[in-house]
């Protein structure tokens, strides 16, 4: 089912030639048009197919004449004009309108000469003879035209069918492709068959990913690589297909595979000579690339979704594991901690300073373990969005005192200066969460400063907020740590050398404060210059919260 590519569109030009304007006035534009047609006709005639067409038309006439003359030698023939319609029709089917017309004229000429009496003469000597020839000419030309048109339509239909089948195969291939590589391969193969020339894919890094389908040994024109580089550099913003001259008369289309993302690279297609079909071909190639680009995006989206799901499942599993492990750790810890506190009360041990120290050690360490487990539990609760703040009107002094009480052991050696406003302040908060948040901040302040240094806790009203700041004179933060502070499991480099811990404290505090619609801010003048952590909670508007 090979289709004569070069011949097909030209017949469309025939049609236009026939339907010329009726007035016949010869404007320069019209003249140029006719000149163009003539050029096409001449080229067509000179082309291998064109000559065949002429020659075959003549062969047909001669053959028919010879056949009829031989027949007449044996027997007197009736008027034979109809016989000449056979070569006309055959020529029209095989070679188109031109052949049919030549055959018709040739037929008419030989018809007058051989088969209209008196035989072997030319010239309009008889009315019936002229009429017969004219009628024959009209009939054969009309027949030739009609047959040629039918043939053209059939060929077009066939061509469309092929195109659609190709496109269908292509879309099936790309929709069943599970990897970008599959889509690239399908795209390259299909485009290769479509244009019959080079198709090159450049991935997002600019390296040549695929070789051409045909003419693989021909190098890539420099202009094309330049255009590819330019398209890649431009990114997806305003990227359009560009046509560059690849030398040797071929034009290349350079275009990003997807206009939405630069991730799929750039494609370069050799479209061949700039002929009449060029724009059509270019439009089709662009449509195909667009299709493939969409498929790639769909694939990318699907992958992103599945990755997100996997991540979520992993996270869920991790949280469940942490939760259950922590719970299991806590049960025996309750016994250890409880028993150690009983030991510390026993007269046998309180009377012996060495044993008393050991009992205190067990107690301290199990308490520390308990705090860390509580932190992990809190963290897993935060991560699994299990944090529900129960907001109530409450006094900040209550949770500040509770936090100080909780940290009393750690803060025992220090001067802790607490300043709170004299007047009543009511905040809409979850006091329990706030106590835990402040506890974490106090704990950190105690951890990362020397045991003798002072810590100040100051609460005050501040333009629409109630601010509680905890200032220590400890290790402080450097620029690196500042950026990382607030991340889960973050511990400053120096911190890990000073004291132990999981680095969950600040992260938990941030989450708890956020659950209370507050903000938390850590400011440090620099390394070893202390740190001030400020929690800000909204002073609720009386109107909006009064219910």
């Amino acid at each position: 089912m090979s289709i004569d590519r070069s011949a097909l569109p030209l017949e469309g030009v025939d049609d236009r030639a026939r339907s010329r304007p009726a007035d016949g006035s010869l404007t320069p534009a019209l003249a140029k048009k006719y000149f163009d047609y003539a050029r096409i006709w001449i080229r067509k005639a000179m082309a291998p197919g064109g000559v065949t067409r002429l020659v075959m038309a003549l062969v047909f006439i001669v053959g028919t004449d010879a056949f009829l003359l031989v027949m007449r030698y044996f027997q007197e023939l009736p008027p034979v004009a109809l016989t000449f319609l056979i070569p006309v029709a055959v020529a029209a089917i095989r070679w188109g309108t031109l052949s049919a017309a030549i055959t018709a004229f040739g037929g008419a000429a030989t018809l007058t000469y051989f088969f209209y009496s008196p035989f072997y003469t030319t010239g309009p000597d008889s009315r019936s003879r002229v009429l017969g020839v004219v009628v024959f000419l009209i009939v054969s030309l009309v027949l030739g035209y009609l047959v040629a048109r039918t043939r053209r339509d059939a060929a077009r239909a066939l061509k469309r069918e092929n195109e659609i089948r190709d496109l269908y195969t292509f879309s099936q291939r790309i929709s069943s492709a599970h990897t970008p590589a599959g889509i690239f391969e399908a795209m390259q193969q299909h485009l290769g068959t479509l244009v019959g020339r080079k198709v090159l894919l450049f991935d997002s890094l600019g390296t040549l990913e695929a070789k051409s389908e045909r003419l693989g040994d021909v190098g890539i024109p420099k202009t094309v690589t330049e255009a590819v580089d330019k398209t890649q550099a431009a990114g997806t913003v305003g990227s359009k297909d560009i046509v560059v001259d690849g030398g040797r008369g071929s034009a290349w289309l350079v275009r990003p595979v997807s206009t939405n993302t630069a991730d799929f690279g750039v494609i370069a297609v050799d479209l061949g000579r700039r002929s009449e079909v060029f724009d059509d071909l270019r439009a089709r190639v662009v449509a195909l690339i667009g299709d493939a680009g969409l498929s790639l995006e769909r694939l990318g989206l699907a992958r992103t979704i599945s990755e997100a799901r996997t991540r979520a499942e992993t996270e869920q599993f991790r949280e469940a594991l942490i939760g259950s492990v922590s719970h299991e750790l806590r049960t025996p810890l309750s016994s250890i901690l409880g028993a150690s506190t009983v030991l510390a009360l026993a007269p046998e041990i309180t009377g012996n300073s060495r044993l008393k120290k050991l009992a205190a050690l067990i107690h301290q360490e199990s308490e520390r373990l308990n705090v860390e487990i509580q932190n992990i539990l809190d963290a897993s609760r935060i991560s699994s969005n299990g944090l529900q703040a129960k907001l109530e009107w409450a006094e900040p002094s209550d949770f500040v005192n509770a936090a100080l009480q909780r940290c009393r052991n750690r803060l025992a050696s220090r001067a802790v200066e607490v300043t709170l406003p004299e007047e009543l302040v009511l905040l809409r908060i979850d006091s329990v969460l706030m106590e835990r948040a402040l506890g974490q901040i106090l704990d950190n302040a105690a951890k990362y400063s020397s045991p003798e240094s002072a810590i100040s806790v100051r609460g005050h009203n501040e333009s629409g907020h109630f601010a509680i700041s905890v200032a220590d004179q400890g290790a402080g933060l450097d620029a690196n740590d500042r950026a990382l502070l607030g991340q889960k499991f973050f511990r400053g480099n120096r911190h890990s050398q000073v004291t132990s811990g999981l680095g969950l404290g600040f992260w938990i505090a941030s989450a708890f404060v956020a659950a209370n619609n507050g903000t938390i801010e850590a400011v440090s003048e620099g390394v070893n210059r202390g740190m001030t952590v400020t929690i800000r909670l909204p002073l609720s508007m009386k109107e909006s919260d009064k219910d």
Binding site: R330, T331, L337, G338, V342, L345, E392, N401, L426
Partner: protein, 239 residues
């Protein structure tokens, strides 16, 4: 530490917990019985005169809070709850069900002993029917409805007095927000926590040396308030 021969029942399904609580309570001078499940506990309470119940909520046969309800149906024996569930809603619920106090696991033995002491003292005072409560520098006379701080009579508004009175009826015991609001302001104001905050603040300004660092009227975060029992304060905390 001589609390006489008071009898404590420990209800917990974990032998390890029972073991150290028993050791601790015996060190504190109590007589101790144990029960590993709810049914044994009920039998124990019916058969013996128990002065204090230490109840773990997680029991194999009966849910701890249900057991508490059943005990409360016929007995006023003081109950201290042990629980790993530290939620404030849970605490409020248990207090409303009639628990006298709760301790969250893991806990310090000293703390449990202190709570036990307060609860038992409260129990014996109730029996005595004292008409005045002396808390450190503060004296609350229920008969004359007067409050004295270091010998000086305080000028309290009726609401302030009522609030203090409700707390003073159970010194050391946590009274929930809801309970206080219901008793002092009435059922309709059960959710108006801000009333409570404002009056507690006013009361603290009158009875505390520093209202920002209260020593008498203490806050139990997310649950309620309690009056600090000085007998519990001298209890040596493990420090």
């Amino acid at each position: 530490m001589t609390d006489g021969d008071q009898h404590v029942l420990i209800i917990d399904d974990e032998a390890q917990i029972r073991q150290f609580v028993r050791a601790g309570m015996e060190l504190g001078g109590y007589r101790v019985s144990e029960a590993a499940n709810g049914n044994d506990a009920l039998r124990e309470i019916t058969l013996h005169p128990i002065d204090l119940v230490i109840l773990d909520l997680a029991l194999p046969d009966i849910d701890g809070s249900e057991l508490l309800e059943r005990i409360r149906a016929w007995s006023g024996v003081p109950v201290i709850i042990l629980s790993v569930r530290a939620g404030e809603t849970e605490k409020v619920k248990l207090l409303e069900l009639g628990a006298d106090d709760y301790v969250v696991k893991p806990f310090f033995m000293s703390e449990l002993l202190a709570r036990a002491k307060v609860v038992l003292r409260r129990q014996s005072e109730r029996k005595d029917g004292e008409s005045a409560l002396r808390l450190d520098r503060l004296v609350i006379d229920f008969a004359s409805r007067t409050v004295e701080l270091e010998g000086k009579r305080l000028n309290l508004t009726p609401k302030e007095y009522r609030l203090l009175q409700v707390l003073a009826q159970h010194p050391g015991k946590v009274i929930t927000h809801q309970n206080l609001l219901k008793t002092v302001w009435g059922q309709a104001h059960v959710n108006n926590t801000q009333y409570l905050r404002i009056f507690v603040r006013k009361l603290r300004q009158k009875i505390e040396a520093d209202p920002n660092r209260p020593k008498v009227l203490l806050t139990e975060l997310g649950v309620g308030y309690r009056l600090n029992d000085p007998t519990a304060r001298d209890q040596n905390r493990l420090e």
